[in-house]
């Protein structure tokens, strides 16, 4: 290029001067991210409160003892097996969601609908598993103890509030191989009962808050499935709404990864 034809364009401005978003994302998608960020802080607050309570408790129920049941397996000792199934279902539904988003990028209406349907099925399976686990654990929580089984009351939200509750009602939640833990159960059962109470309260609150997110996620997925099938996004020219709901759905999966670690593994 010769000297005479040097282009006279102005230097590019350092600051953004309107027009295309510097992040190359639309307003809706960016705000979805920021909403998820605030939701992450809420979940984080709940999990940190759980961690603090656990840290200052002298004893704490053992996940391998609390979560060892499987539907139709009776009293067989199967620690973590059921929750592994739930985790698998949620990861799987995350994959089907990302495949729906992928199909959306190519405007492939049929595949968007197909993968959204699988995602909805996965979400409903997860919720069913959670309903079973909640029912099972609820029946194990005793808020008002009475030697007559007909008068025994099961605690709402996993409460253990009656100081007359015999240790045997919660002994099985604790690690029976640790001498130190068994000593506390024998000599200071109220401390152990308080830990059990806290453990189940946090469990129902946090998994409940997460389950609420899964429920709304399933509802959103059903809505966008209806829109997809009706051709709303095809007419709009893009499937960005599927992407935005996808972000929410993956976030729910993401939270489960942390809930799983905090409640079932650590």
């Amino acid at each position: 290029m010769s000297q005479s034809t040097v282009v006279t364009t102005a230097p590019e401005p350092k600051l953004w001067a309107g027009g295309r978003s510097p992040y190359n994302v639309s307003y809706g998608k960016m705000m979805t991210w920021f909403f998820l960020l605030s939701d992450a802080l809420t979940f984080g607050a709940l999990l940190i409160a759980y961690g603090t309570t656990r840290f200052f408790s002298a004893v704490w129920p053992d996940a391998n003892q609390v979560f060892k049941s499987f539907p139709f397996m009776g009293d067989r000792d199967l620690p973590l097996v059921f929750v592994s199934l739930m985790t698998f279902i949620l990861i799987m539904s995350s994959v089907t969601m990302v495949l729906a988003v992928h199909a959306g990028h190519y405007g492939d209406k049929k595949n968007v609908a197909k993968w959204l349907l699988w995602t909805i099925i996965g979400g409903i399976c997860f919720l069913s598993c959670q309903a079973w686990e909640w029912t099972h654990l609820h029946s194990e929580c005793v808020s008002l103890w009475n030697s007559d089984p007909a008068l025994l009351q099961h605690g709402l939200w996993g409460s253990f509030t009656d100081i007359h509750t015999p240790t045997d009602e919660f002994r099985h939640f604790f690690n029976r191989h640790s001498e130190a833990v068994q000593n506390i159960l024998n000599n200071d059962p109220l401390t152990a009962m308080r830990s059990t109470h806290n453990f189940f309260n946090y469990f129902f609150t946090i998994t409940g808050f997460h389950g609420g997110h899964v429920t709304s996620g399933v509802i959103f997925n059903i809505l966008i499935l209806v829109n997809t099938v009706n051709g709303v996004y095809e007419r709009r020219g893009h499937y960005e709404m599927v992407e935005k709901i996808g972000l929410y759905w993956h976030f729910v999966d993401l939270v489960w990864v942390f809930v799983f670690t905090c409640f079932y593994l650590l």
Binding site: A17, S21, G51, S84, N111, V257, T261, L266
Partner: protein, 146 residues
Amino acid sequence: MSAHHHSESIQHLYEGDQSKLYSGVMQHHTDVNSEESRAQVKRIWKIFWILLVITVTEVIMGMFFSHKMPKGLVAFFFLALTILKAGYIVSVFMHLGDEFKGFIITVLIPLFLFIWFIIAFLADGGFWLRMNAESPARQHIQHVEK
């Protein structure tokens, strides 16, 4: 202005709906059976297998080994795997890895607050644990434990 050169050609699509500027229209995806599309689907399934293997490792660890290992090591091990899983989900499934660097940083920076939250609250929990352990009501347990 050259900075706006690309957007001018599609400005007619704007009509107040920003999403048209940044979704699909810009990316010219058409063939779902293209090489690029297949590669992306393959990547998604690869991440699925990685997540599955990590989860199975965690569960086996939790079932058989975590009780016999030092507590600190167990916590470190599980937290490291959890963050690895979270990283894969966010960067690939949520496509954050494909966004602009500035946007990635904007989303991630507030989360670093958690490092401080965890340190602060565990310190608080530790203080309460010591208070509880040293209070007269608990002395007899200390005695039994010895």
